[in-house]
Amino acid sequence: MSVDVVLQVVVGGVLLGGLYALVAFGLSLIYGVVRILNFAHGTILAVVGVMASVMFASWQLSPVLIALILVPGVFVIGALFYRGLLRPLERRSPLEATIGTVLVTVGALLILSDVTAVLAGPMQRNILLRAPVIEVGDIIISITQLAILAAIVVLTLAIHVILKTTWFGLAVRAVTQEPVAAELCGARSLGIKTLTFGVGSATVAMAAVLYVLTFPVDPYMGFGLTVKAFTIIVVGGIGNLPGALIVGVLLGVAEGLVGLFWGPEWSPAISVVLLLLILVAFPAGFRWRRA
């Protein structure tokens, strides 16, 4: 097997991993602030990906326009989902609230997947753009792939800047670190949580449009993605953007290489295997940040 083939797989893995990291950012943002594990998180990518490919196939809309339509929509739906179905559970006892949020988010996962499969069909789809390619040695990179990479970098920086410089970002970091102290300071926790749910969901929607430009989506792929996002958060650290990006890319590349050397059917298992290995090898976790 030539080095070029391996490098080609690594390029694809970096793209896939960057998209995993975007999915994980959204999940980590929501978990950090709202303290709810949204099992339907990856399913948002599946559903939005299918919708984007249907919109592209039916009306030949540009992917940018598709993103401009879908991302704000998902923001609103994410915020309403929290307010309508999850927020009322917070008044329950802790045990009932925990079980309730699992039921609601897993239920949303099942319903969203099935409804999408019924309306759009269960098959895999993607958006195939005719784009010129660049050849670096024997490695072929399409302009689409470069654009996706650029978008991942820009989105990551944008999230970083929002978290570091805006009031919303400050409130998000405050609530993630010390929810009690944030309320002591008068932070409007309901508003911050609702906004965070919307922003976290919108992040996945953006990742979905990018994803479907190179990788196939189907209505039932969401749960696997959610598991990968969990892995990235656990290893990279909650609310830690650089950590998530590094782990996401490592995971994407590892999946690509495992697929290449052992066969694609082994790829999905690698995230769980990596998670277990890392948890056993580093039970106290990594220190990514300076103390």
Partner: protein, 236 residues
């Protein structure tokens, strides 16, 4: 412009922690709350701040009732709470901690925010020196200063302070009592729970002694006889 707590009752499950406390405080008044551990002092503070829901009774500031409001709503009604464990944001810088205190204000502007932070730095040069350090790198005394500064920056009308001097060096204790005097001079109502009774009485106008969820004695902090009665009321 007064704090009124009327016949307040609080239960933790079956245990009746606060059994009908009535308390009043005027602007510019420091009220000391004394009693042994576990008599309900902290619970009283937490109930006023909205962290614990009372089972009966009323709490009102300037006639505005508090019961049923969430802690962040009560905070934005002008109630600052400095809890015993200070609750500094560990990973945020000193400046970010202070900025979060501004969320208590109902009317804000960019210039107003900048002025407020600048005034705090003028008053607390130590915090200015450490403005870009994270909360966890501060000493205990500095954390207490930051916790109090974070409340002051929100311009509250009522400040609840729970055991502010516990475990701190005498010089810092004196500084903390000086801050409480400044709050009083600014017309803020201060409710102070403190184990350092002598120090607390020196800044207080009046005191309440609490025993098993009841007020067993109230008095004027400036009167020596009242001090003696207080010591008798809360000692074994």
């Amino acid at each position: 412009m007064t704090l009124r707590i009327d016949n307040l009752h609080v239960h933790y499950g079956l245990s009746h922690v606060i059994q009908g406390i009535t308390l009043e405080a005027k602007p510019g008044e420091v009220v000391g709350i004394f009693g042994r551990n576990g008599v309900g002092k902290t619970t009283l503070m937490k109930t006023v701040a909205g962290w614990v829901q009372p089972s009966d009774g009323a709490i009102a500031l300037d006639g505005q009732p508090f019961v049923g409001l969430t802690p962040d709503q009560i905070c934005r009604h002008g109630v600052g709470f400095v809890p015993e464990d200070r609750r500094i944001f560990p990973g945020l810088t000193v400046e970010e901690n202070l900025k979060l205190g501004l969320m208590q204000r109902n009317q804000r502007s960019r210039a107003g925010d900048r002025d407020a932070v600048a005034r705090i730095y003028e008053r607390f040069p130590r915090l200015a020196e450490r403005r870009l350090q994270t909360g966890t790198t501060l000493s205990g005394g500095e954390q207490q200063m930051l916790a109090m500064a974070r409340v002051m920056i929100g311009e509250p009308r009522l400040v609840l302070i729970d055991e502010p001097t516990e475990g701190l060096a005498p010089m810092i204790v004196a500084e903390i009592f000086a801050i409480i005097r400044e709050m009083k001079a600014n017309g803020i109502i201060v409710v102070l729970v403190e184990q350092n009774i002598a120090g607390a009485l020196a800044v207080s106008d009046r005191f309440y002694a609490i025993e098993r969820g009841h007020v067993v004695l109230t008095g004027d902090a400036g009167v020596q006889q009242a001090h003696d009665d207080l010591m008798r009321a809360i000692s074994v």
